[in-house]
């Protein structure tokens, strides 16, 4: 229970650091970010929203209030999920823009990371079991090489070869034009079809890491006595590999899951950009280019929050799976 409390405390603190970093960044930067945003608003927009100047000053600094007052106001607005108004999607609030784009990103990253984990650990397990075998000498270097490819480069190559030249996949956007997002078969089928290539690209970038981690841990596990014992008992090779060695080797790589997820969130931005996929990653890139600071701040918070939640979920899973953690 003490362990549990400590972890919770850590995550609360991590969220606070993310919030505060978000608050401090624009104030630490040279120049006047708030001035930049306000200059982009037209006079009629300012007239229609009487409080907008104060809101941006509180968000980005440069007003006549003290930093502490700004900070309190900032935290207060966050408790109401008020992230301000997106200047590039005027007059939509930031929370609405995020709510519209985030589901696409969650689907993309969720499917890709899960598949990469299952396939990667499987290959890593077999590679370690039959060291120097076909899987070890062909798949491991190939996936390692693919992992060295930057996600955007793999994405560009895939768009060119599989999309443009071979015509196997659609290459732009999240669904065919003319469809209205909703729970009908035509939309879901189109969305799935458009997600295939982006998911494959993210998988290509992240499977290699799992393979390498699993292989390293598995090599150490294989030399344990209980594995030799299981083999001496005459159990089937496959059973020893999965139930005895693999089952014990999977915990350390699983601990890296949250870090892989954080990496995949980063890779997502590039993949969405290349595919013009209307998710949160593409929105972040466009907001950063268009100086839409309220939106970049809001998205950074959402991404940080997602990674923190992933970390927390992994900790809980670890707690369930590993008796050593429970005992300590």
């Amino acid at each position: 229970m003490r362990w549990f409390a400590r972890r919770c405390l850590f995550y609360v603190f991590a969220i606070w650091v993310a919030l505060t970093l978000n608050f401090l960044l624009p104030r630490l930067m040279p120049g006047d970010p708030a001035g930049g945003v306000l200059a982009r608003l037209s006079p009629s927009q300012i007239q229609a929203n009487p409080g907008i100047i104060q809101t941006y000053r509180a968000l980005l600094g440069g007003g006549n209030k003290s930093v502490w007052q700004d900070y309190i106001a900032y935290l207060h607005r966050l408790t109401h999920f008020n992230l301000g108004i997106s200047t590039s999607n005027y007059p939509a609030p930031v929370s609405e823009v995020i709510g519209r784009t985030l589901p696409y990103s969650i689907a993309l990253v969720g499917v890709a990371v899960l598949l990469a984990f299952i396939i990667g650990t499987g290959i890593g397990m077999i590679a370690a079991w039959k060291r120097g075998g076909t899987v070890d000498t062909v798949f491991v270097p190939a996936l390692m090489g693919l992992g060295a490819f930057p996600a955007f480069f793999t994405a560009l190559l895939c768009v060119y070869f599989f999309g443009l030249k071979l015509g196997w996949f659609p290459i732009q956007h999240a669904y065919a034009s003319g469809l209205v997002p909703g729970f009908n078969w035509a939309f879901v089928a189109s969305a799935l079809r458009h997600g295939e290539l982006p998911v494959l690209v993210i998988m290509a970038a992240f499977t290699g890491g799992w393979v390498l981690n699993m292989r390293t841990v598995m090599i150490n596990t294989i030399s344990e006595d209980y594995v030799a014992m299981a083999q001496a008992k005459g159990l089937k090779d496959r059973r020893v590999m999965t139930r005895y060695a693999g089952r014990n080797a999977i915990l350390p790589p699983l601990n890296g899951f949250a870090a892989q997820f954080a990496g995949a969130v980063g890779g997502l931005v590039f993949v969405e950009y290349v595919f013009s996929y209307p998710g949160a990653g593409l929105t972040l890139q466009q907001a950063a280019l268009g100086n839409d600071y309220p939106l970049t701040q809001g998205l950074l918070l959402v991404f940080a929050f997602a990674v923190i939640v992933a970390n927390f979920a992994m900790d809980m899973l670890n707690f369930l799976l590993d008796p050593r953690v429970r005992a300590s």
């Binding site: 850590f10 603190f13 991590a14 650091v17 993310a18 970093l21 960044l25 624009p26 930067m29 040279p30 120049g31 970010p33 060291r131 120097g132 070890d136 390692m144 090489g145 060295a148 490819f149 930057p150 955007f152 480069f153 560009l156 190559l157 768009v159 060119y160 443009l164 290459i171 732009q172 390293t216 090599i219 150490n220 949250a258 870090a259 954080a262 969130v265 980063g266 890779g267 931005v269 590039f270 950009y273 290349v274 972040l284 890139q285 907001a287 950063a288 280019l289 100086n291 600071y293 970049t296 701040q297 998205l299 950074l300 991404f303 940080a304 990674v307 923190i308 970390n311």
Partner: protein, 315 residues
Amino acid sequence: MSQLQPLLEPEVTPLSVPAPRKHHRIPGWLSLLFENPKSRFGLVLIGFMILVAVIAPWISVNNPTDFNILATRQAPSWNHLFGTTDQGSDIFSQVVLGTRRSLILGASAALLATTLAATLGILAAYSGGIIDEIVNFLTNVFLVIPTIPLLIVISGYLNARGMTTMILVLGLTLWAFEARILRGQALSLKSRDFVHASKVAGESTRRIVFGEIMPNMISRIAAAFVLVFYIALLVDAGLEFLGLGDTTHVSWGMVLYWAQTNSTVLQGEWWPFLFPGLALVTTVVGLVFLLAGIDELSNPRLRTMKTKKRKKASR
């Protein structure tokens, strides 16, 4: 037979001792790296990229960003080895000149991050107590904030995105996971006899950290340096690709950015993105193989070659 194996092992290891003595000029660590096939491959690739960076001004045209309306969107030919952009600039010159920036930026950012990480990580592990708690806490917090979105937001705020700024930003954001690796390594060294001995001998903390523990972790530190080197390269090119770079300079990321902005891929032009991408991949693959080689040298269990040979010897 199996009991004799450990004694036989030194004879079959590829790392025989007399070999480095033959060529006097090459330092020991370099010849070690050359004897491992993985790191040798990596060193050859990196050596090639360094060579390109050094001779870049002699093999490129004078003004790589010059536009030429008569030669736009040309596929690779003898006149333009890597083809031209939609402004008619020579992509070969841009890629070759971009090599310098990438290598210098990656190495500098890695140096900054490694210095920070090694100092903080080892100091924390050795001192223990409250210092260790604080450093460990800080690194863990840094690790849960996703780096790429953070860097995108920071670059969005920056007005000047010159090389020095990017080195500082990358170095200061990438040190955390390196510090975690190095701290873990230092923790296992901390309770070794030689550390206790120097403590008893009355050596100062600074001397124990920098003079005793650090030299014993040099292969780990080198591995961490190489890791951050290629991550910094990738991240910098990625940010530029997203349009968050300095549009006035020449680099791989900028060539890729213009290729994407002008949607050259969708028009079937493969050369504006293929060549800068390949340059990036070549460098990164070189560094990844070098890293794998260093890992194998410091952790003999990972070597595949050796086990194969041992099996043959035992038959």
